[in-house]
Amino acid sequence: MSTQAFFHALQNSSLGSGIGTLNPLFGALAQLFHIAGFLLILTAILLVNLRLFGVGLRNQSVPQLVKATNPLILYGLGFLALSGLFILLPSADIYYANPAFWTKALLLSLALIVQFTLYRKVTASESPNRILAYVTASLSLVLWFGVAFAGRAIGFV
């Protein structure tokens, strides 16, 4: 099955077509959950990455901030995944044809890889290597903000 056929099948699945027939109010609610998740993740990651650069909440240790922000990131990911599927499924064919969607998917994959490897490793240390901290923070910020930027671009392409 090609990717295109897969997306077509998603849209025509009982879940995809079922969501498509719901009151548009649910669509608006999904958009609101999507932006709530976006704010939770981006601001939480920003707080930790600023600290990796040695600015922002610099009186606190990196692991202390990670401990406080990790639940927000997980809630954010949950909100984004569920609302994202809700938005994607009934219009999968349109998203398949949109290059900005694929840019977002690529950036999101890279952001998640960095999140669960480099970011997790570097932020576990009380005093991470400065160069490694800078590289991690730059990568994480560029990728996550890139995901949001590409996400907004979907509506323009």
Binding site: P24, G27, A28, Q31, L32, I35, A36, F38, L39, L42, T43, L46, L47, L50, V55, G56, L57, R58, N59, Q60, Q64, A68, L72, F145, A148, F149, R152, A153, G155, F156
Partner: protein, 167 residues
């Protein structure tokens, strides 16, 4: 001059027209307006959550207020400037969407609440920040800020959504 006349003037101006018709600059301005929220509204919401005792409880509130202030204000500058550019280009259209005037009122309320907090409590945070119980007014300001800025985001997100649906 009515609001409509003023927005028409902006809409028809050279800046308004070229912004609106640009292939990349307009989407870029909108994108920056959106991601700038992580610094402006995102950081203010995190500060509010600290104030009401739901986040970073083991970090002194004075640390949160002082260390995040420049980032938060920088974020608001970005969000505000890009917001003005968006109104310049599309204000005439956006003004017709009912949630837009509500969003402006909520921003004014959130801003006034922040200024009131700053003058009443922000300057004396070193006196009350280390106490077990914060002044009631400071907590109320935190809750009001949480609610009003969340409502701003909700209205803001509904603008392109309602705009697209009315096409």
């Amino acid at each position: 001059m009515s609001v409509n006349d003023f927005l028409t003037l902006l809409y028809d101006s050279q800046l308004g027209t070229s912004l609106r018709e640009s292939l990349y600059i307009f989407p870029a301005v909108e994108g920056i307006h959106l991601i700038g929220l992580a610094l402006s509204v995102g950081l203010i919401l995190f500060t509010d959550l600290r104030l009401v005792g739901l986040f970073l409880k083991d970090v002194p509130v004075e640390d949160v207020l002082k260390q995040l202030r420049p980032w938060l204000l920088g974020g608001f500058a970005v969000t505000f400037i890009t917001g003005i550019l968006l109104v310049w280009a599309e204000g005439l259209k956006i003004y017709q969407i009912s949630v837009f005037p509500i969003k402006l009122l909520l921003i004014a309320f959130g801003g006034l609440n922040a200024i009131w907090f700053e003058f009443k409590y922000g300057r004396t945070v070193s006196e009350w920040g280390s106490k077990a119980e914060f002044p009631k007014g400071a907590k109320v300001a935190g809750w009001l800020s949480l609610v009003s800025w969340s409502a701003v985001i909700i209205c803001g997100r509904l603008i392109p959504y309602l705009d697209a649906r009315s096409l």
